[in-house]
């Protein structure tokens, strides 16, 4: 499959096109193909931001258009738009009812295809550029087009997240991943009208879909085609206990709390009337830009007025 990557550069040469115009399509193709192969793998994923870091090992089986991911604490089965979460006997399922079509931001392009090898297999190393600067590095197995290594870089070029397969076997043998028989409850996330508080775009991300969840919170899903995040908005309430020891950081005048898991960053803050949780795989410099365009943190206006009246 090495030719699949190298034809990009050949096309660029023969057509005399600027790199960005041709590379975009090939990055889309690369991302589509990365999802089509069947394989069984064991991997490690780790993420670090400042002094916070997290890591985990996981096992993935992908077959017949379905995936099973076994990680610490829970298993995940993915089949099209159906996500089933659980372990052993206890499962529940979740599904989005509608979603908008995927498109890739034109700030991304593909460059630097270099033959290499990984896990004893012939592979190709590529770099995803964001406005010309490296944002992600992938090592892609030639035979199966599956990414064996994915490195996401922060704005300074340091590795922010690394996902790496330590065992890899394309095709799956005779043991097929199967949906658990008893899925317990099955919930469908329905589209909702977008609230007025969350913007259509933020720092190069577009609000693709909005879902209304039971319990009254709104989920706005943003993506730039490569990274994505959801912002959950609810009536102002107590901080989730998981954030109790979280690192506090500032963007502008606002204070936020953040948690790192191997695959996501979590941020919590409250505005005078609402509470927010953001979860996504976007790198830190993108996240800072996004938070600047989302509703600002702030104390309840009423409380501040009372305090000032009482204490001057």
């Amino acid at each position: 499959m090495r030719w699949r990557i190298t034809w990009v550069l050949a096309v660029i040469g023969t057509l005399g096109l600027p790199v960005a115009a041709a590379a975009d399509e090939s990055l889309e193709d690369l991302m589509q193909n990365a999802g089509a192969g069947e394989f069984h793998a064991v991997g490690v994923v780790m993420c670090s931001w400042g002094s916070d870091s997290a890591a985990a090992t996981y096992e993935v089986v992908r077959t017949q258009g379905m995936s099973m991911v076994q990680g610490p604490g829970r298993d995940l089965m993915l089949s099209g738009s159906l996500v089933a979460v659980g372990s052993d006997a206890v499962w529940y399922a979740l599904e989005v009812s509608e979603w908008s079509s995927w498109s890739l931001s034109d700030r991304y392009s593909l460059s630097e295809a270099v033959p290499t090898s990984r896990l004893g297999r012939s592979a190709t190393a590529v770099t995803i550029l964001e406005n010309g600067s490296p944002r992600a590095r992938l090592v892609i197995d030639d035979e199966s087009t599956i990414p064996l290594v994915t490195e996401i870089l922060d704005g300074d070029g340091r590795v922010f997240r690394l996902a790496s397969l330590v065992e890899f076997e394309p095709g799956v043998g005779d043991d097929h991943a199967a949906m658990p028989e008893d899925l317990g409850s099955r919930n469908v996330m329905r589209r909702a009208a977008a609230g007025a508080t969350l913007p259509e775009t933020a720092a190069g991300y577009r609000r693709a879909d909005t879902y209304g969840a039971p319990g009254g919170s709104l989920q706005a899903y943003y993506t730039d085609g490569l990274f994505s995040f959801s912002v959950f908005e609810s009536k102002r309430g107590p901080m989730p206990r998981e954030f109790a020891g979280a690192t506090v950081f500032r963007v502008g005048d606002g204070a936020y709390r953040r948690l790192i898991t191997p695959t996501n960053v979590w941020v919590h803050w409250s505005s005078p009337d609402q509470s927010y949780v953001l979860v996504g795989d976007l790198p830190p410099d993108h996240l800072v830009g996004v938070l600047a365009e989302l509703p600002d943190p702030g104390d309840r206006a009423l409380f501040v007025r009372l305090w000032r009246r009482l204490f001057g």
């Binding site: 589509q32 192969g37 069947e38 099209g80 159906l82 399922a93 599904e95 095709g171 949906m179």
Partner: protein, 166 residues
């Protein structure tokens, strides 16, 4: 240009469109899905033809076809071989009249229904071999699996098929 002519877009659409349609129809049992798949594959082939390097055209084409099929499967809620919890794949057949029975057999509906009950990768291997007519090597190249796995899937698929048809 190197060995082997590069087909024109019209040639691909005419000669291969029908094969792609039959591949998709036999895999899904659904004419609308099969039609959509043909459009999707032809679209991808068209985009890729400009940069296709002559070599094994069939291998390249079937690789695209298979990827397109699996991508469409992922996008939709209907999955060929994973029944959703509330669907009952068995169903209840009203008993058919002798004329219906005969025409069903003649039109291959029994075989199609049996095909749909095979696990996806067995079904795909059997369809690529016996409907599309690819060799084991070509199937291996299209699916990214070893020839031995192709052979094993075809073998088990056929045995299961025979059991379902008796």
């Amino acid at each position: 240009m190197a060995d082997g002519p590069v087909p024109s877009w019209e040639e691909v659409a005419r000669d291969h469109g029908r094969k792609i349609y039959n591949f998709a129809y036999r895999l899904t049992g659904n004419a609308d899905d099969a039609h959509d798949l043909v459009q999707e594959v032809l679209l991808r082939v068209r985009r890729g033809l400009a940069s296709y390097r002559p070599g094994s055209f069939d291998g390249w084409l079937w690789r695209i076809t298979r990827n397109a099929f699996l991508d469409e499967v992922r996008r939709r809620k209907r999955r060929p071989s994973v029944p959703l919890p509330e669907e009952d794949p068995g169903g209840v057949d009203p008993s058919p009249s002798p004329e219906d029975e005969l025409s069903r057999i003649r039109l291959g509906e029994d075989v199609q229904r049996a095909l749909l009950q095979l696990p996806y990768d067995f079904r795909e291997a059997v369809v690529l071999c016996d409907v599309v007519g690819l060799s084991y090597e070509e199937i291996a190249a299209a699916a990214g699996i070893p020839v031995g796995t192709v052979r094993s899937r075809i073998h088990r698929g056929r045995k299961m098929l025979k059991e379902l048809l008796t």
